[in-house]
Symmetry: C2
Subunit: 386 residues, 2 copies
């Protein structure tokens, strides 16, 4: 990882030139400004990659950790050891920093990685892969631990995801379209991140002075990310006290509100919410608001319309908090905290390869440990099965 950081520093000029090529091609091809921005590298962004390499290098090695070791009645010692998964395929779009971060995380966890980046970032990615391979060679590590699928044809992905004898895990990173396309065709296990339709529920026993900043932070601190909220649920018992203040604050931050009928009574500025507003991931300064009868209705709403990503209750009541934690079926369930805190860094995972909305293997933020599996290790003294 430290060699990669050094090679990035050394190869920066070449990398920026190759990235420039991608940007020029992108402009000619009429890419949107947002896409071009994601694609663009500059000194600051390269420094960000270098910092990421240093951070990942400093994390504890997840491989080889032995845990749950017990001595069984017949004297057999049985435990588990964390081991690499094997070969991980990363399919992503136009962000070149994924090339560095995903590769470094996979290598740190002992895996080989096969990259397939977006065609718009082709020259940048080839330069980054060359840098990564130089760092491997410098440490006398087999360069083939990292490989890049150079074909920019979509059919290359289709072929990749049926190689279940060679690749052990696919992690697609990008928009919902890409992820669904990969998941549908893959014979290899896929760790997916679909959408984040996250909620704050303000319970009747909430401390409203806490509920207000949590709601605002969860919506406006960075609305375009998956753990920002899309729906606010307010208990009817405290609606009169809470709604005017929260609506005023949200409007002041430029948030468009789409509310249920009861919500609309509190302000004429509230637009009517349609059924599909409860399931929509706006990723923007838009918020659906519903006044609910009680805790049960809030839980039902979240489990029915949410995306099982991240949901928060604000309450002073321990029973309400525990019921919410127990019954909301989401990858992160929070009490008295902003949904924006659902993050591998904040949870202590160090670095994050992504957030899983799947239920198997890894759920929520995925760090290095989630890039490993385990094997059973057993020590006997001539033990037989009788």
């Amino acid at each position: 990882m430290l060699s990669t950081a050094a090679q990035l520093q050394k190869g920066q000029e070449y990398l920026l030139a190759e990235n420039h090529e991608d940007l020029e091609n992108g402009e000619k091809a009429g890419l949107s400004k947002a896409l071009l921005d994601r694609l663009a590298l500059n000194e600051k962004r390269v420094q960000g990659m270098i910092r990421a390499c240093h951070e990942i290098a400093a994390l504890p090695d997840p491989v080889g950790r032995v845990y749950d070791m017990v001595v069984r009645p017949e004297g057999l010692r049985v435990g588990r050891m964390r081991v690499p998964i094997g070969v991980i395929g990363i399919i992503y779009e136009a962000r070149p920093n994924v090339t560095i971060e995903a590769s470094t995380l996979c290598l740190k966890s002992g895996n080989a990685v096969i990259l397939r980046g977006g065609s718009n970032a082709f020259f940048s990615n080839m330069a980054l892969v060359a840098i990564l391979k130089k760092a491997l060679a410098e440490n006398s590590v087999n360069e083939n631990l990292i490989s890049y699928i150079e074909s920019t044809d979509r059919s290359a992905i289709d072929e990749m995801v049926v190689q279940d004898d060679l690749i052990h895990l696919i992690i697609p990173r990008g928009g919902e379209g890409l992820i669904r396309a990969v998941a549908e065709k893959s014979r290899i296990p896929v760790l997916k991140h679909f959408k984040g339709v996250c909620h704050v529920y303000v319970h009747k026993n909430a401390n409203l002075a806490m509920a207000l900043p949590i709601t605002v932070n969860a919506k406006v601190q960075r609305p375009a990310v998956c753990n920002a909220i899309e729906t606010l649920l307010v208990d009817k018992a405290i609606a009169d006290d809470f709604m005017p203040a929260v609506l005023q604050e949200l409007f002041a931050h430029g948030v468009e509100i789409r509310g249920c009928e009861k919500t609309r009574r509190y302000s004429e500025q509230v637009k009517p919410a349609a059924e599909n507003d409860w399931t929509e991931e706006y990723l923007d300064l838009v918020l659906a608001v519903k006044i609910v009868d009680d805790l049960d209705q809030a839980i039902d709403h979240i489990n029915r319309y949410g995306s099982a990503h991240t949901d928060t209750i604000v309450t002073e009541n321990i029973h309400a908090a525990e019921k919410f934690v127990k019954n909301v079926d989401s990858s992160s369930v929070l009490v008295n905290a902003s949904t924006r805190l659902a993050d591998g860094g904040i949870y202590g995972l160090g670095a994050e390869i992504g957030i899983s909305t799947d239920k198997l293997h890894a759920r929520g933020p995925m760090g290095l440990e989630e890039l490993t599996t385990y094997k059973w290790i057993v020590y006997g003294e001539g033990h037989l099965r009788s």
Copy 2:
């Protein structure tokens, strides 16, 4: 579970009558003796099911366990809680006891279960499902937690395994053909058990008085199961001391030996091994034997030809043991113990839903915990993202 046990006792007569129907149909259809034996129920087998219900009832509840709870620097408390996976589909063949054991394990771990048993066991399974539903009703639990797909058409499976919005995990139990067919078509994660090509490697520093009974036990104690060995690897340094004794003992147990050229020097009874003998799961009293140069060659052989199921080294040398444990990429790696010990009961899991040869989510013997997932739980005091 205890209600199920009681209902099994009460419904035994009806169950055996329905099973008799299946057996008659099976005979008419010309099923093999082995298949008819798997299908047949009798009082002893019903008592076995009842005992399994009692054992599963006595296991600790895996759901709700909170672990890895830490206080993060900013004061947020972050941990994980075991929760049910959701809806689990079990696709199996003609063993009626799977109906009881799989359902009971899924329910104990908080999941709903959709069963699809083999058409040959149709009447037995319908009787068992009726018994299971009675037990649920008796406890005022929703009967739909268990459902059975009554269509005996293969296309019902094809339809089942693409319902990824409704079913969260598929566990196929049966022969390799069934499992491959399910895995290829499924859009739902599948926990698979392919074959068990397991090895004993007798290292040059082995205690031969220990190596001999381990080899024999691993091969002959129950040759038709997945954790019996199919290949014996013997270090060339101790071949002269070990081979005559082990061959004699194996022949005495009626084992057919297919050996490498060097092995054949020790007995004329040894048949020549072909390339495909190293990858074959005999499930019978047949054993492939190879003399290897050293530990590295043994590890390479196992990783190349084995099925990553269960492998053992016999050695007194700690460095050899640790190198083998570290480098053999199998779900269970044992030292000085018979491969037959790779088992959920022996590992302390209580009861086993199966053995996974997959790498994701669960590897090796799967117990109740492997039928759960986790969610992140986070407690703040008004914490925001800055």
